[in-house]
């Protein structure tokens, strides 16, 4: 059959409605834009990781450990050198950096590198090419952030421990480094041969030891297979650039999926908008459809005619969205640049463009199909009589069932395509489906309530406006769904950001803003004296004794958790206490009764005291009396454990643990379980011992202090470091600022994508208003014929769109508050509070915007004079 006449008919029939149709279908535009932007970004990110994998590591193979390499590792390195494979070592440790000229002091991450490093990638410095000069003397290259913090400049002297270096430049670009990391601890590169001079690495100091080698990839893989077991025995980890790339790829793909999913839902919202607008469009085309049927059009022909219109407009909408998405693509890398370890080049990703256009058209067509299938029910009889009795036999239309099935399959396929993995996809879809259902339900409830509401006391326009929410053919549900979902996304992001940051606020009067660690026992009094002199008050101080578990209830640790290599070593948190969550990743998938491996193997940095502190709550058992708790009658000493680690170790009150404190065994019995508030930036501990038991053990001190203002913080840091170069002082306000910055950037990206959903919501609203346009004009003309003023009609419309916007935003916010609570409780495990005022502003803003959009789209209602419109009838 010749399709061309039909194609032409479809195109002609869309005349006068094309702009309106385009608007309906442009609700997918922003979703496509978000999708294309995130997909291109993810593709470019993956390309960046692929291209820069070796540059990021700076070598083909790396060995790393947090203790000096053992003899077997050294033999491996010797054999490499003999085989003429270049090897370079890097030793990293934290140290206070002190600028002599300005007296500024700041905790820095020192990386002492041997000549040759890095073998790949270029470290860009300012002034240029200073990396080559690094090894020529006591030189240092530093992060620009350090210069700012120290108020220093290139050419100044920098004290690290007992040695002094000259700052010869700043680090502008270091491959593989996450830019924002410098906010937490700015980097300082020095030549490795001066490490000893600094006297910063002593017994018990924490440092990372790494060795890098350049060799062909295949050889690196072989080496890895051969030596990994040997190195593991000495707690040395080993990885190749390829492995690192694979790890990073996985992590970044997850980021990409998450961003894409947010875009996907903007698109699905747009799809709902398309379905609703097409429904309204077809309702206006009933006469035409009936005539076409009389003239011999089959049902599939009618569907084809309108589906083609939807498809073409969807294509235009999707193409427009793709263009916007490509433009937005320039924004995302800028927002995320400092959070990513690779440089992301902005390139046109053809697959992303094709996916964008394809998915956009597909979604437009899939959602448009349902209202179009309903045209099958339009009887040709309608052309000869106004009222046509509905088909009495209400059997299920297989076409409609097919349409729904197609739609459901499309949505599921799209979400899984974007989520990349089943679990995330299902979780995300279920969550969003629940949200949409709840929004739909609240809209349904409100239309019911609007019908029954006792609005008698209100003025006529308000009453009429509210009645509009439930009149036949209302679009309340679809608008609440679309707009409410956008508000929901924005509000959830805002709630998460504020709740994650709140516990970290250090501006509260009582909280400390300086954390001092590695204070030797004989330096403790001196440090306190220096702090007191500068008006800085010590809020807490605690001794730290490193130890490991020797046995639990008589079973040796080696039996409970057979060694798995160097990764069991503990890297402590900034607080000098215990790093908790980051450690859990290497927990073996053990059975439920066996203790978690990481908890058994790790190094515990424990303390001694006889009372609980503010951040602790006693859950079970009792604390020992001050001065008691030791080996009463030669029995085991008492110990108090944190509830979470006790759960991981599968121990409780009454269980016995023997600790290995630098070679000395200390048997203990658990007499209490504490809950510790780990969110506070304070020294916290998994295990607390009675004073009597650990007093004599070799120990360092950690102190939490509060300086009254910024100059006092700077003075305290400088003075402590000048006197005791080994003591590290962490400025918590700087950490807080860095966290603010990180979360702020992540939130900005999500908010940016959520804004697409909100904007889609407004387009859906606009489409809903326009599709009911004719009916509105008729009504308003009738009202005006009966004596209503323009003002009264405007007030009817205002009441309607205000209540619609308010309803949508309140429903969205209410659900966001619930979802936020769930996320805070189960995912982030933080206390939850709702910042009422900002959410109120959000609701008001959205409500005002809805009223504005609604009135703007209705302005045609006022343009018609009653006579003119009646004549058109």
């Amino acid at each position: 059959m010749n399709l061309r006449p039909l194609l032409a008919l479809s195109w002609r029939e869309s005349r006068f409605a094309r702009r309106r149709l385009l608007l309906f279908l442009s609700s997918i535009t922003l979703g496509v834009a978000a999708l294309v932007a995130t997909q291109s970004f993810a593709a470019n990110l993956a390309a960046g990781v692929r291209d820069q994998a070796r540059d990021m590591m700076g070598a083909d193979v790396s060995l790393s450990s947090n203790r000096p390499f053992g003899p077997r590792t050294e033999r491996v390195l010797d054999s490499l050198r003999r085989a003429r494979i270049p090897v370079a070592r890097v030793t990293s440790f934290a140290s206070m950096a002190l600028a002599e000229r300005t007296g500024g002091a700041r905790l820095a991450q020192v990386r002492a590198v041997e000549p040759g490093y890095p073998f790949y990638g270029e470290i860009v410095t300012a002034p240029a090419n200073r990396w080559m000069d690094l090894q020529r003397g006591r030189n240092a290259l530093v992060d620009p952030a350090l210069l700012i913090a120290l108020d220093a400049r290139v050419g100044d002297s920098l004290e690290l421990g007992e040695s002094t270096f000259t700052i010869i430049g700043t680090l502008e670009k270091v491959p593989g480094a996450v830019g924002i990391g410098s906010l937490f601890a700015p980097r300082v590169y020095i030549p490795a041969r001066y490490v000893k001079e600094t006297q910063l690495i002593r017994m018990g100091s924490r440092a990372d030891y790494e060795a890098y080698a350049r060799m062909p990839a295949e050889r690196a893989e072989r080496l890895l297979a051969d030596r990994r077991a040997v190195l593991r025995g000495e707690r040395v980890g080993m990885s190749t650039a390829r492995e690192q790339q694979a790890d990073l790829d996985r992590a970044l793909r997850r980021l990409g999926s998450f961003l894409s999913l947010v875009g996907t839902f903007a698109l699905l919202l747009g799809g709902i908008g398309v379905a609703s607008a097409m429904g309204a469009y077809i309702a206006q085309k009933r006469d035409t459809v009936a005539t076409l049927r009389c003239l011999g059009a089959t049902a599939p022909q009618v569907i084809f005619i309108y589906l083609l219109q939807a498809g073409v407009m969807g294509l235009i909408g999707a193409a427009l969205g793709t263009a916007i998405g490509l433009a937005v693509q320039w924004v995302l890398p800028r927002l995320l640049a400092d959070l990513l370890p690779v440089q992301v080049d902005t390139a046109l990703s053809l697959p992303a463009v094709l996916t964008g256009v394809g998915v956009g058209v597909w979604i437009a067509v899939a959602f448009a199909l349902l209202p179009l299938i309903a045209t099958r029910r339009i009887s040709p009889l309608q052309a000869i009589r106004r009222r046509v009795e509905p088909d009495e036999t209400r059997r299920r239309d297989p076409w409609a069932i097919g349409g729904w099935a197609l739609l459901a399959a499309s949505i599921v396929a799209l979400v899984f395509l974007q989520a990349g993995e089943m679990g995330t996809g299902i979780g995300f879809t279920a969550g969003i489906a629940a949200t949409l259902f709840a929004l739909w339900l609240s809209a349904w409830l409100v239309t019911k309530a609007a019908r029954r509401a006792p609005t008698g006391a209100l003025g006529y326009p308000t009453r009429q406006g509210i009645a509009n929410l439930h009149r036949p053919g209302n679009q309340t549900r679809v608008v609440v769904l679309a707009l409410g979902f956008g508000v929901f996304l924005l509000a959830v992001v805002y709630l998460m950001q504020s709740n994650l940051l709140r516990p970290l606020r250090v501006d509260a009067k009582s909280q400390g803003n300086l954390l001092l660690f590695d204070v030797q026992a004989d330096q403790e009094a001196g440090v306190r004296q220096i702090l007191a002199g500068g008006g800085t008050e010590v809020l807490q101080r605690a001794p730290i004794i490193p130890m490991r578990i020797h046995s639990i209830n008589g079973v040796p640790a080696t039996t409970l958790a057979p060694g798995r290599g160097g990764d069991a070593e503990a890297a402590d948190s900034a607080g000098g206490g215990e790093a908790r969550r980051s450690e859990r990743r290497d927990g073996p998938p053990g059975d439920d009764d066996a203790p978690e491996g990481w908890a058994v193997r790790r190094e515990y940095r424990s303390t001694y005291r006889d009372t609980l502190v503010d951040s602790e709550t006693l859950l079970r058992g009792r604390m020992w009396r001050p001065g008691a708790g030791g080996q009463a009658g030669g029995g085991p000493a008492e110990v108090s454990m944190d509830v979470s680690v006790a759960e991981d170790l599968k121990v409780d009150v009454g269980d016995q643990i023997v600790w290995d404190v630098q070679g000395v065994r200390i048997p203990t019995r658990i007499t209490s379980i504490r809950e510790v508030d780990w969110q506070r930036l304070e020294p916290n501990f998994f295990a607390v011992f009675p004073t009597e038991v650990l007093q004599g053990a070799p120990q360092t001190w950690v102190m939490l202090a509060r300086a009254p203002d910024a100059p006092a913080r700077a003075t305290a840091q400088r003075d402590v470091v000048r006197r005791y170069s080994n003591v590290a002082v962490l400025d918590l306000t700087a950490i807080q600022a860095a966290l603010d910055d990180v979360l702020g950037r992540v939130a900005a990206v999500i908010r940016f994508l959520a804004a697409f959903s909100v904007a889609t919501g407004f387009i859906v609203l606009l489409g809903a208003v326009l599709s009911g346009r004719l009916q509105r004009i008729r009504e308003s003309v009738l009202l005006r014929t009966l004596g209503a003023t323009r003002r009264q009609i405007a007030r009817v419309l205002l009441a309607e769109y205000l209540s619609l916007g308010l309803l949508a935003s309140l429903a969205g916010i209410l659900l966001a508050v619930i979802a936020g609570w769930a996320l805070a409780r189960w995912l982030f495990e933080v206390d939850y509070a709702v910042p009422v005022l900002p959410l109120l502003w959000l609701a008001l803003g959205v409500t005002a915007l809805s009223a504005a959009v609604g009135l703007l789209a209705s302005r045609e209602v006022f343009r018609h004079t009653p006579l003119e419109a009646l004549r058109e009838e």
């Binding site: 006449p5 002609r12 076409l292 049927r293 089959t298 049902a299």
Partner: protein, 226 residues
């Protein structure tokens, strides 16, 4: 040839069956012109709907050139309409988004016949609207719109034309000219004409008049155009 064989149509209204047509039987020979007349509510439009295959009878059969319309699916009936049936409606039923010429060519477009435009021009010329092909329905008078509808009804040379109160929305003079034109075209093309009207003057121009009352045929006799 069109045969109505014991047609019944029952609607359900407020849960109770409501009979719209009962025991209607007649046959219309090729080339015949038949007027179906009766007061409002007598079942004229219902009968027209059944005869043209727009609806199915509750019982009985409609045979068009030997094909039982009731045995066909809605889409097959649509195909049959496309081939054999023409329509003229009281309210013209032109598609507002199409020009006069495009409206006329719709039946051929639906059949996949690419020659619609040329044939539409010929017919528009024939109904005296040669220069108005590019105008939209809203730009045409009622009489002009009905002439466009006539051109559309004949474009595919239907074997039978159904006209539903074709002058109902027109003034007397215009209505008379439209009827004249319809009769002429009918003769030229040799189409069978079934006309539903309550205008007795118009009915008198048919060769045969079937009267309906309360859903039943009360008389079937020759009209004035013998």
């Amino acid at each position: 040839m069109l045969i109505a064989d014991d047609l019944q149509k029952t609607y359900r209204s407020g849960g109770r069956p409501l009979s719209a047509l009962q025991n209607v039987s007649f046959r219309v020979e090729p080339g015949e012109t038949v007027a179906i007349v009766g007061p409002s509510g007598s079942g004229k439009t219902t009968l027209l709907g059944l005869l043209a295959g727009l609806d199915r009878p509750s019982s009985g059969r409609v045979l068009l050139d030997g094909t039982d319309l009731g045995a066909l699916s809605e889409d097959d009936r649509a195909r049959l309409r496309r081939e054999k049936i023409g329509f003229v409606f009281q309210s013209f039923q032109l598609i507002p988004t199409l020009t006069a010429r495009e409206n006329v060519s719709v039946p051929l477009d639906l059949a996949g016949d690419g020659g619609g435009a040329a044939r539409a021009n010929e017919l528009l010329e024939r109904v005296g609207l040669g220069g108005r092909g590019h105008h939209y329905p809203a730009q045409l008078s009622g009489g002009e719109q009905q002439r466009v509808a006539l051109a559309r009804a004949f474009i595919h040379r239907p074997s039978i034309l159904f006209a539903d109160e074709p002058t109902g929305n027109l003034d007397a003079a215009t209505g008379a000219r439209i009827i004249e034109l319809m009769m002429e075209l009918n003769r030229e093309i040799g189409t069978t004409l079934v006309l539903v009207t309550h205008d007795l003057d118009l009915a008198a121009r048919a060769r045969r008049v079937i009267r309906l009352a309360d859903g039943a045929v009360v008389s079937d006799e020759p009209g004035g155009a013998q």
